[in-house]
């Protein structure tokens, strides 16, 4: 994946080793954070299924994490967009769209979050959460590897210039 730096307007100030590298470094670290959040989410769903946690606690804990997770992902996407990395931005767009759709279709609640304690205990729901969790973990791992690669490429191009 070649970074299309030539399209970036004059706001891209090239200082030590090039901006690319730092951008990708930041994005990669945030992707690790997202990955950890999703893994913790999966562990919580598993605890719920095995009766180690009751639904009210489950929802309170996970609801607090939903907006931060979406916010971080949105930040990553916007950062990539602003710095001109179109392809990696487009790579994140489907997940962004999914997040927006999911948040708009959440159960009626006055607080933040997606999880309603009364609906959470139906197996249909827990199966959905697990599936969603696994897919997103896979996606975040993939995106982590992508950013790592891009970061290395940026590092190499900057060093060779």
């Amino acid at each position: 994946i070649k970074t299309l730096q030539s399209f970036v307007p004059a706001c891209a100030i090239q200082w030590i080793m090039g901006l690319d590298f730092y951008v990708y470094l930041l994005v990669m670290i945030l992707a690790i954070a997202l990955l950890f959040m999703m893994v913790w989410h999966l562990i919580m769903v598993d605890e719920l299924k095995n009766d180690y946690r009751n639904p009210v606690d489950f929802c309170n804990t996970l609801n607090r994490l939903v907006l931060p997770e979406y916010g971080i992902h949105l930040f990553i996407a916007l950062l990539l967009l602003l710095c001109g990395f179109w392809i990696t931005f487009l790579f994140n767009v489907p997940l962004l769209a999914y997040h927006i759709w999911r948040y708009m279709h959440r159960p009626v609640m006055s607080g933040v979050g997606l999880y309603d304690p009364t609906e959470v205990m139906n197996q249909a729901q827990t199966v959905l959460y697990t599936r969603e969790g696994f897919i997103k973990v896979g996606f975040y791992v993939l995106s982590f590897l992508v950013y790592l690669y891009c970061m290395m490429v940026a590092l190499v191009t900057a060093l060779t210039q």
Partner: protein, 844 residues
């Protein structure tokens, strides 16, 4: 005349000799007493005529026409006549339940006697130990062995449970053993379906691990002798109640606590609600279930909250008004709810004075949310029951709701059954954690946003009751509410309860339907248990059950009785496993299936939309028939044939689609629709089935042939059931309809005058009053039989069944006509058109 027998009708071969092919009973001296020869739980079978048609002759199909329904045979009697064929896997046409029925050609699809639940057939006669089907029953009495098989059928696998049904001691014995015998690993209670490995050990039938018996298990406490185990009641009865020792208590058993929240805004005063309530409560004050510690309190609210200090030292009750409803606080540390015995005089004075205090109240606001928060603050140390009488939209304070159109003119897609605010849901979860249950009575014809406020009852295991036409001047409505409230105040009640449902390994609980909060995968928290509520649970099959011959379900309800005793009510159901699709089809319970599909449709209509749930109902009938045709039926049968056990499915699906809950008719308001959905979710299976598909009797045809004596010398009237269509109603007839929640008597203009005189006590049709709810005392044989029939129906239900006499030209005629589900009404198409539509889908 009868249409010709269906082309696919096959004459029944002589029934196979019994005992052939049944698997041998489990090995190693069971130690179980020999199965009783005639176990007759009093409530097992509805009275029915002794089967006269035998299957030995060219069976009911050949002679008596389609489905053998022209004669007095019903599904259950056909089964009783046929020997148990549990393990037999011969040609499936030998089983009467599998006889293919061409639904399009059958004229009289409803059986002439009330449909009974099919029974499971277990080896060794174990099925005699199964509980009464109205308490615990399953959609499939032969469980498919793999989930692949279950998916092929496109039918849900679920159990219906009515755990706290009013059962007397003979139906549910109370035990007080020294030690309650439970499995070490899965904590199942010992039940009649366990196996004994040797004289000291038993094997749990849910997790299959061995357990040790307590030392004195065999000792008969009355004789002191070590004997066989036949005296242990828990091995002979599947519905038992234990008195629980202190390990089962998290805290000392709570006293009965009753708290009443009454809306005294203008709406309520204008309807005269307060007067009726106070009168009934005064009457029933001594009959409220409880012991010496019973506590009671009252809170009235409109735009402010009015607490009442009922301390016994006072000479009269003192009213304390809290006007800051944004931040509710309790004006007095105690004595806002008091011990009934100590403050009885004060409570009486209060109830006598309340109607007068608010007689001129013109306040139109109603701060329901604040009142609920106040009662939560008050009751949370102890728990108890809160009864709310609301008569308008809560429009002030926390939880205030906005007025929306009541939905009469809304288009299909705009009908929204989901709550508009989660205030009540969150409050319900808090209440549930503190063992407070909230029961809601709503009296308002205008928009009350029932979908939102009924959340407070749904998750605290309360019930919702809706009386849109209540007014103290309308005798019918007032009486109906009074009798219902009287039963509500005086019926059995259980506090701080939890219900745990266990099933054999390899299955798991999938979805729960009912009013409770699910606290973990199999634990339901019920702050109050109510003898009039039923629940359903969908089961999914995770692993293959082939190696397990018999699967069991156990429902255990741990509660505090109103006398302050901690008790456990246990019901256990055992079902055989079958790997043959034909056998599963033979033992399917079509009523249970319709019940659980209705509940699933209610869920679907709030999660997606009403149109979706209607489509899902229709597709159930279509898919089920398709799957049966693909997997079981032979090719020479017509397109639309179903096994006899499922032949009622299309009619039940159509009846569901015509219910107020799911119909697209414009005359149904959002609130009535919501209440209909609440009924579907709350009612136990038998009442739900009557609500969906009522029983219709022809009163003018009642004669001595319909009366018969049962074994205990009592006489019962069992007239035949009619099809639910106006085609079968004659202009000269008088009909009685039993719709589960009440009775209607329909009188035609041309009904013979003698009948009108005998039954209604008036000279002619025109003299029948508009709102007649009580029949005069019987004067001759005919009216005696009518009144015996009505009494019999009423006795079989615990709740009050209001009666209404409907004239053919009266204002209530739609109440009767809309329930004739085989006809085309504004609520939906006719049965025949529905079948044509389904047939067209099948042939695509």
């Amino acid at each position: 005349g009868l249409p010709p027998p269906p082309t696919s009708g096959q004459g029944l071969p002589p029934p196979p000799t019994s005992g052939q092919g049944l698997p041998p009973p489990p090995t190693s001296g069971q130690g179980l007493p020999p199965p009783p020869t005639s176990v007759h739980h009093g409530l097992t079978y509805q009275p029915g005529p002794v089967p006269t048609a035998t299957t030995g002759l060219a069976g009911p199909t050949g002679l008596a026409g389609p489905t053998g329904l022209a004669g007095p045979t019903s599904f259950a009697t056909q089964m009783a006549a046929a020997p148990p064929s549990g393990g037999v896997s011969s040609a499936h046409t030998s089983v009467p339940e599998l006889r293919p029925v061409n639904v399009m050609e059958v004229r009289n699809i409803l059986p002439a006697q009330p449909l009974e639940h099919p029974r499971a057939i277990l080896p060794g006669g174990l099925h005699d130990f199964n509980p009464d089907p109205s308490v615990l029953c399953s959609t499939m009495n032969a469980v498919p062995a793999t989930s692949g098989m279950l998916n092929k059928m496109k039918l849900p696998f679920a159990i219906h449970v009515h755990p706290f049904k009013d059962l007397d001691r003979s139906a549910c014995p109370v035990l007080h053993p020294r030690v309650i015998v439970r499995c070490r690993s899965c904590r199942t209670y010992i039940n009649p379906f366990v196996t004994f490995i040797d004289s000291r050990h038993w094997r749990c039938n849910l997790c299959f691990r061995p357990n040790a018996l307590p030392e004195d298990f065999d000792i008969n406490h009355q004789t002191g002798l070590r004997g066989d185990r036949s005296h242990r009641v828990e091995l002979k009865r599947s519905s038992v109640e234990y008195i629980a020792p202190s390990e089962y208590m998290l805290r000392p058993p709570q006293p009965s606590v009753y708290y009443f929240l009454i809306d005294v805004s203008y709406n309520s005063i204008e309807r005269g609600l307060l007067g009726v309530f106070c009168r009934v409560l005064l009457d029933c004050l001594d009959k409220l279930p409880g012991d010496a510690r019973t506590m009671i309190g009252v809170l009235t609210y409109d735009s402010t909250l009015h607490f009442y200090n009922l301390q016994s030292a006072l000479s009269q009750p003192q009213m304390l008004v809290v006007s800051d409803i944004g931040d509710v606080f309790l004006p007095s540390p105690n004595s806002l709810f008091v011990n009934i015995k100590q403050s009885k005089e004060l409570i009486r004075t209060l109830l006598e004075d309340l109607p007068g205090m608010f007689a001129n109240n013109r306040n139109t606001s109603s701060a329901l949310g604040a009142a609920l928060q106040a009662s939560y603050k008050l009751l949370h140390p102890i728990g108890g029951r809160v009864t709310v009488l609301q008569s308008g939209l809560p429009n002030l304070g926390p939880g205030a709701l906005k007025f929306k159109d009541n939905g009469s003119a809304l288009k299909k897609d705009a009908i929204n059954m989901s709550p508009s605010s989660d205030f009540y849901k969150r409050l319900a979860l808090d209440c549930s954690a503190q063992q407070i249950a909230v029961d809601l009575f709503v009296f308002s014809g205008q928009f009350v946003d029932l979908p939102t406020i009924s959340c407070i009852s749904k998750f605290t295991s309360g019930q919702v009751s809706y009386h849109p036409n209540f007014h103290h001047s309308k005798a019918v409505e007032r009486e109906k509410f009074e009798k219902e409230f009287r039963r509500y105040l005086t019926r059995n009640i259980g506090y701080e309860a939890v219900m745990r449902i266990r099933c054999t390994e390899g299955m798991s609980l999938h979805t729960f339907h009912g009013n409770f909060f699910v606290r973990s995968t199999d634990l339901l928290s019920l702050p109050n248990v109510n003898p009039d509520l039923g629940y359903a649970i969908n089961i999914s099959i995770d692993e293959s059950l082939k190696s397990i011959g018999m699967v069991c379900f156990q429902v255990a309800l741990l509660y505090t009785s109103y006398r302050g005793e901690r008790r456990i009510r246990v019901h256990t159901l055992a079902l055989p496993v079958s790997d043959q699709l034909a056998q599963v089809y033979a033992r399917v319970d079509v009523q249970a299936i319709a019940g659980v599909i209705a509940k699933m449709a209610v869920d679907r209509s709030s999660s997606s939309s009403l149109g979706d749930s209607r489509e899902a109902l229709m597709n159930t009938a279509i898919d089920c028939t398709k799957m049966y045709r693909t997997h079981c039926a032979s090719s020479m049968q017509s397109n639309f044939s179903l096994p006899a056990s499922l032949s009622l499915l299309p009619l039940l699906m159509l009846s569901l689609m015509k219910l107020r809950a799911f119909t697209l008719s414009a005359s149904v308001s959002t609130d009535s629709r919501m209440q209909a959905m609440n009924f579907i979710k709350q009612l136990p299976l038998d009442h739900l089935m009557l609500y969906v598909c009522p029983h219709l009797y022809a009163l003018h045809d009642l004669s001595d042939k319909d009366v018969e004596s049962r074994d205990d010398g009592m006489e019962v009237v069992c007239p035949q059931l009619l099809q639910l269509t106006a085609e079968k109603l004659t202009r000269y007839g008088m009909y009685l309809m039993d719709y589960g929640l009440g009775l209607y008597i329909w009188v035609n203009k041309e009904t013979p005058q003698e009948l009108i005189q005998f039954v209604c006590g008036v000279q002619h049709f025109g003299a029948i009053p508009e709102n007649m709810t009580v029949l005069p005392a019987p004067t001759n044989t005919f009216s005696r039989m009518v009144s015996m029939l009505i009494k019999q129906i009423r006795r079989s239900r615990q709740h009050h069944m209001p009666l209404l006499v409907i004239r053919e030209d009266g204002p209530h005629r739609l109440l009767f006509i809309d329930r004739l589900s085989q006809d085309k009404t504004e609520r939906g198409t006719s049965y025949y058109e529905f079948l044509t539509h389904v047939n067209r889908q099948l042939t695509k």
